[in-house]
């Protein structure tokens, strides 16, 4: 399969080869659909609906069996995973790199925060999040149009400027956006139906932490459902064509620029929703929350998880959320002072990143999938060989 996709690399064409291996995780659909052994329905939409339902059940079970702090961590996970999901579509599917997704999240977060300044007569929450998505989509379209002409490091540079510059607007428009200390966000209270739902499911108390975790989980499931459908559709196939062979794609009548802008816009929409959820969960939209570190964390999450795979984005985000406290607790448990333990966390994260890149260059999901495909190929080769010999 990979032989068909990439021509023999000649000098100076190293980058042509890289995406095929690196985005192994993204090339699942044909494989998954052709196994035939799966218990899931053949129709893509139906299959994803079943997965959505399973995901929803899993989310409820997970949120109800864990303690309040883990609930709040899962809420954090949800906004990272939504943004990483959008970014993995852009980078893994379409081959564009963005270092500016933290800034796009800031757009979503500030929109949500502004709409929630008067909690008494605020719009309903779904509408607020929708407006955040629309606003960020508009900004994403603007950036996408500029970015469509750029490639690789140039695109990275342009989006980097976005990540560095955009949060500065909050300081410049001090009176509207609250400057350096940002806008405080009072998340709307949980509706009564939520309380009765929790009472029905587990009888636990419906705290605001739990409510926000549910809001995050719902947004995550909807986003992943929509993205999964999108990448398995004609649009997704076109994006992959643009990523792998842009010349061939253009010869086939694909307008490269337009499809790149579309990928950026879809990805920005996800970042906008992630920003909205972030504002609710963090209860604040401030420039110091949207530094370059956020954009880079999202990128590392999708690379570690496996470029182009939504499951990979989720796993990478989980690593981002759960690894630092785990390492810090391990550090303090083994006698380090709190300061030393805190400094250990970024170090261990870096080591994990390096080890992952050396031993699993295609990310968790990508590596496992490549192993599985290799074994399958070997098995079918083994079956084919005796058949050949009997014929001969």
């Amino acid at each position: 399969m990979s032989d068909l996709q990439s021509p023999a690399p000649s000098a100076g064409q190293v980058t042509e080869d890289a995406p095929t291996v690196a985005t192994a995780a993204a090339n699942a659909p044909s494989a998954a659909a052709s196994t035939g052994r799966s218990l899931l329905p053949q129709s893509t939409l139906l299959r994803h609906l079943v997965l959505l339902l399973l995901g929803a059940v899993a989310a409820v079970v997970l949120l109800e069996i864990t303690d309040p702090f883990t609930n709040s961590q899962l809420a954090t996970l949800s906004y990272y995973a939504i943004a990483a999901g959008g970014l993995t579509v852009l980078t893994g599917m379409n081959g564009q790199i963005s270092l500016g997704h933290g800034a796009l999240m800031a757009v979503g977060a500030y929109t949500t925060a502004l709409l929630l300044q008067e909690p008494a007569d605020a719009l309903p929450l779904p509408l607020i999040l929708l407006i955040s998505v629309v606003t960020t989509t508009a900004v994403g379209a603007l950036v996408g149009v500029a970015a469509a002409r750029l490639h690789g490091p140039y695109l990275a540079g342009a989006t980097l400027a976005l990540a560095v510059g955009l949060p500065g607007l909050a300081v410049y428009f001090h009176d509207q956006l609250g400057g350096e200390q940002g806008l405080r966000v009072r998340a709307p209270r949980a509706p009564e139906s939520f309380e009765s739902f929790i009472d029905l499911v587990s009888g636990a108390s419906a705290s605001s932490t739990k409510w926000l975790a549910y809001v995050g989980a719902i947004c995550l499931l909807i986003t992943y459902f929509l993205l999964a459908n999108l990448v398995r559709s004609r649009i997704g196939r076109t994006w992959r064509a643009v990523r792998d062979q842009d010349v061939a794609a253009e010869l086939a009548g694909i307008n490269l620029g337009a499809w790149r802008v579309l990928a950026f816009v879809v990805s920005a929409a996800a970042a906008g929703l992630a920003g909205g959820v972030l504002a609710l969960v963090v209860r604040l939209a401030a420039p110091s929350g949207f530094t370059l570190v956020l954009s880079l964390s999202l990128l590392t999450a999708i690379v570690i998880g496996g470029l182009g795979s939504l499951l990979g984005a989720l796993l990478g985000s989980a690593l981002l959320v759960f690894l630092p406290p785990f390492v810090t607790d391990l550090g303090t448990g083994s006698g380090l002072s709190s300061t030393e333990a805190a400094q250990l966390a970024p170090f261990v994260y870096g080591v994990v990143l390096i080890v992952a890149m050396i031993f699993a260059p295609a990310g968790f999901v990508g590596t496992i999938r490549m192993r599985w495909l290799t074994q399958k190929a070997k098995r079918s080769a083994g079956r084919a060989a005796p058949a050949d010999s009997s014929r001969g």
């Binding site: 303690d67 309040p68 702090f69 609930n71 709040s72 961590q73 954090t76 500065g168 300081v171 001090h174 400057g179 350096e180 200390q181 940002g182 405080r184 009072r186 605001s208 932490t209 972030l278 969960v281 963090v282 209860r283 604040l284 401030a286 110091s288 929350g289 530094t291 570190v293 956020l294 406290p325 810090t328 002072s337 709190s338 300061t339 805190a342 400094q343 966390a345 970024p346």
Partner: protein, 448 residues
Amino acid sequence: MSRSSRRLVSVLAAATVVSALAACGGSDDGGGGSSSGGANEASAPGITEDTIKLGAHFPLTGVAAPGYSEIPTGLKAYFDYVNDNGGVYDRKVDYIYRDDAYNPSNTSTVVNQLVLEDEVFAIVGGLGTPTHSAVVDFLNAEGVPDLFVASGSLTWGEDPETNPYTFGWQTDYESEGKIIGQYIAENFPDAKVGLFLQDDDFGENGEKGIREYVDDQIVGAERYTPGNTNVGPQIAALQAAGADFVVGFNVPSYTALSQLTALQLGYKPQWFYSNVGSDPQLVGSLLNRFSQGKVTGSALLAGAYTTDYLPTVDEPDNPWVQKFQEIWDKYGEEGELTNYRLYGMSMAYTTVQALQAAGQNPTRDDLVEAIEQVGGDWKGPVLAPFRYSEKSHMGTSGMSISQLTPEGSAKEIQGVMTTDIGDAKIKEFDGKPTTPTENGIPDEEPYK
């Protein structure tokens, strides 16, 4: 209505009376236990028979870590000392501090962890205005005492109705601005004053205070954005405006940057840095780093004025500094006692006062009430009294003014003045300097 249902009503009524009586009895027991020398009980989340768990968020990594990451080590050293000397009502203080890297998203996560997982009794000394803003609503909604926020923003103390569980500790920036303003008006009536301000609450509140006294003397106010390391335009603008007396409401790294920039421009006004930005040791090391070794030590700062609300490490004769030095040598981590660690230890001292005043078996509300009722009378290392009452949760109210010497120490040139936010007058503080108790541990009575 049938007889049986009437009987049911009377049974219910009787049950209500009995349970109400039981409740009264229960609360009587509780009240008696907390004031007399009864047994320790697990009276609130984070309090067991022999421990009190307190938590905080600090920048231990990242850009804000130099200096600030030393504060919790001071707090911890003092609590360890208290624990080895009987603790608070025989309970040991367990102080857990976590890293937020000065990022509000992280602050929200670590405070969730402190409150929901570690189940701390109270938060003590959470640092930073943007960072703590992210958690102040959460802490007040959960009813967790949020003591002594390490920031001079007015947000923490001016409105106890909105944030009943949050208390400030250090002098707020507005009061500081007023005291500085009055000093300039009285001692430098002809100075042309320029303001160098951080573009947030810090600079804004300071400017408001200072303008109450020297509004007509101010020839220029320039603002910088934290993170942008080029302050050339601002300093040049102050120079062009003819300012010969520059007051800086800025953080330490911008003290160093403003000094280097002024040096390049050949600009030599009289400098006055607010307390936050003036730590000579830290600024000296930053100057050294930024200039790549061309400027050494803090000699550049010689002659600059600054304010104090605590004794500093360059006053080795101060009894508080001596006591804290003694404790630090025995209980501290590696490294010298710095002004940041002194700050942490002083805050820990106030915390122990609060815990003692809250009584033997306090609830979270008891702690808040104790600070409101008696916190204004506490004596400690802080130069002027706290303003704690039911109407105000503002911290200490006064500051002294000192001048930095070429050796990097500070010489006091004006005694402690006290004031308050708004149009409160500035008064000379007439209280005597306090001294620590024999063992350096406060001895407060329960407030009820």
